[in-house]
Amino acid sequence: MSYIPKSWSAPAALVVAAALLIPIFAPDFMLFEFSIAVSYGIAVLGLNLLLGFSGQICLAQGALFGIGAYTTAILNVSFGMDPLLTLPFAAIVTSLTGVLIGLPALRLQGLQLAIVTFGVASAFPQLLLKADGITGGVTGLATDQPMAPQWFPGSLELWLYGLSLVCAAVSVLLFSRLLRGDTGRLMRALRDNPLIAEALGVSLTKARLAAFAASSALAGLGGGLFCILNGFISPQSFLPMKSIDILIGGVVGGITSMAGAFIGAVFIVFVPGWTTDINPALGGLIYGLCLIGMMIVARKGIAGVPIGDGLKALRRRINKRRQSRVPGILPGQ
């Protein structure tokens, strides 16, 4: 049971279809919100790679997202680079930072890793303030106004949305390449039982850091995109809660699903707004209850339900049937 075909199942198809249909129905401001959601989605995808497929938790994903955003902003503001061209750098710089953050992961796992990385997320905005020489401190950084090229027929928002989708597509492509075949299997082995994996010749160091690097690269790409979309960033956008939001996005969407990453991102971008629309005073309460309800109804995330579950049940049934054909004693040759 390879994970790729599974993720490419119904939820993925739905997400792709929705992504393509959105520009037709959504007004500009909403297209903008969707673009923001896609940028988060890329970061959530990174988290899924780490959490869902290699079993390591990183609660600094929001900080890494911020590093991507600041890389883009600084390259643009201080070096005059075209924002679009900065994206690969955002991914690379963040990836390297991610490896640094991942170093403790070689010794720590689970809860402890979560808390240490959450500490990184908490320190991040303060570090940005401290390094105000390059980050602009509290004032933040305003980057070049994003602009659609001359030849582009649609609106600026459509252009940015298209750009986001391209980034997402690239991310999904890289993601699925990593999860296909040996590397993916290896990461899952790592997740399920590192001890055995090591006995099978897996280099834990290499695999863990690779997972961190890849995951952070995605966070960085998402962050760079986020910066381009907004045209302005400041430390206030990368508070520790952002990392928690990204985690929520991942889990609500489903941490072992690519489609889920984007579903989850849409959730964290839109649902808090909807709940305050229902009742401004009670918005937070409704959102909190919504999170709890969500997990009770769909414990494997939205992407795991209900289509996903049905498929799985079917698969299990098929397996069962095959299995019953296995003779109880050793088959002779």
């Binding site: 007004p27 500009d28 401001f29 909403m30 903008f32 919100e33 923001i36 908490s122 303060q126 303030l129 401190g137 509290v138 004032t139 933040g140 305003a142 106004q145 986020f226 907004n230 045209g231 302005f232 960033i233 400041s234 430390p235 206030q236 956008s237 508070l239 809660m241 952002k242 971008v269 808090p272 707004g273 305050t276 401004p280 005073a281 918005g283 937070g284």
Partner: protein
């Protein structure tokens, strides 16, 4: 002339984005304060504007949790989906910076931003409200130069635009005198306690403590100064000095605290005979507002609502340009909650600061007593 979006013959839509949830949800009282002011007007039929029409105000409030990016999406949603006429009281400096470019390009008024830093990203379409932190720094400096010419200041400041602006303004204002800053310690709004910083400040041998932080750290500082047996002259920024927010520190500990104010003191149990205060209390009761009557943020919101009403009244055409025009040319406009002697004054092209006067007060254990008259910095608000 064309009519701008968001304004009809009988209504005008106003958008607000601010933190209704999360760690700084206290700022949500601003939106509530505005609503407190607007509700009675709507029930009375609306505002009579200078173009001859009477319009009701429709307030649309969005939560941004003080995240600038969410402020931007909110602003876009308000402008493009809800088609508001103007944004009001957007809270937070970076938040206003984040939407500056957008409001400028769209030509959407961003009125009475709740930020003590006024020089932001889109000067044409923006207007602040509360006095600049530089004004407050100047008035504190003036007090010290007049009364304690040898003062040694220990500064506890919020490590954001707020505190940094204040710090540099204070340094500027005391330069060349014998008043000096002997120690400065930053706090962040995430710091659970600030005793470490205060101990360090105390050890510096300062005789004056200046506090420019949020309400929580302000109250902690006031408590610390007494608890630790350190008795400096304490000056607290008006962001942190309302009686409501000092109460948890123990009001007896706050005795002697000096602050600068532009809003009247409100004491619900003894409202006194000030008409403005009485109207505020009546409106507060009628609107069943959540914030307590002595909440400085709610009061600020109420004042902003009041200012909004005044601006809309003097708007000569149903356009966004006209509202900016009106806001930029306020001439000694009195508000219910502004202290006597303090009024909104702006001048197109020259003066972007609506409130430039502050009055010093000292706490006597139950109430703030004025220390002299309001001091006006009209036209001379220090830039930063």
């Amino acid at each position: 002339q064309d009519t701008s979006p968001g304004i009809a013959n009988d209504t005008v839509k106003i958008g607000i984005s601010g933190p209704l949830t999360g760690p700084v949800a206290a700022l949500g009282a601003i939106a509530d304060g505005i609503r407190t002011r607007i509700d009675p007007i709507n029930s009375a039929g609306g505002i009579k504007m200078a173009d001859g029409k009477t319009r009701k105000i429709e307030l649309l409030v969005e939560d941004d949790g003080l995240d600038p990016q969410r402020t931007l999406t909110n602003a876009r949603k308000l402008v493009e989906k809800e088609e508001v006429f103007a944004l009001v009281a957007t809270a937070g400096t970076p938040n206003n910076q984040a939407i500056g470019r957008y409001t400028t390009q769209r030509g959407v008024p961003n009125l009475f931003m709740y930020s003590g830093v006024h020089e932001l990203a889109g000067p044409e379409w923006e207007m602040g409200f509360v006095p600049s932190f530089t004004t407050e720094a100047a008035i504190f400096a003036k007090y010290l130069l007049d009364n304690m010419p040898q003062a040694k200041i220990a500064l506890l400041f919020l490590n954001t635009e707020t505190g940094q602006t204040f710090q540099s303004a204070l340094e500027g204002a005391i330069s060349g005198s014998n008043v000096s800053i002997v120690a400065a310690q930053p706090v962040t709004s995430a710091d659970p306690t600030v005793e470490t910083q205060l101990s360090t400040l105390k050890a510096s041998g300062a005789d004056t403590l200046v506090v420019i932080t949020g309400p929580k750290q302000g109250a902690e500082a006031v408590r610390f100064a007494t608890e630790s047996g350190w008795k400096p002259t304490t000056l607290v920024s008006n962001i942190a000095a309302s009686i409501a927010s000092l109460k948890p520190a123990g009001l007896e500990n706050a005795k002697g605290v000096i602050t600068s104010q532009f809003l009247k003191q409100v004491n619900a149990t003894a409202p006194g005979d000030d008409e403005g205060v009485q109207r505020y209390l009546a409106d507060h009761a009628a609107a069943q507002s959540k914030f307590s009557t002595d909440d400085a943020l709610g009061q600020s919101g109420y004042a902003i609502g009041d200012a909004l009403v005044k601006v809309l009244e003097s708007m000569k055409a149903p356009t966004r340009e006209a509202v900016m025009e009106a806001a930029r040319n306020l001439d000694h406009v009195q508000l219910d909650l502004l202290l006597p002697g303090i009024a909104l004054t702006t001048k197109s092209g020259e003066d972007v600061y609506p409130i430039e006067s502050l009055q010093l007060f000292q706490f006597d254990g139950t109430a703030y007593q004025p220390l002299g008259e309001a001091i006006s910095f009209e036209g001379k608000t220090p830039k930063h």
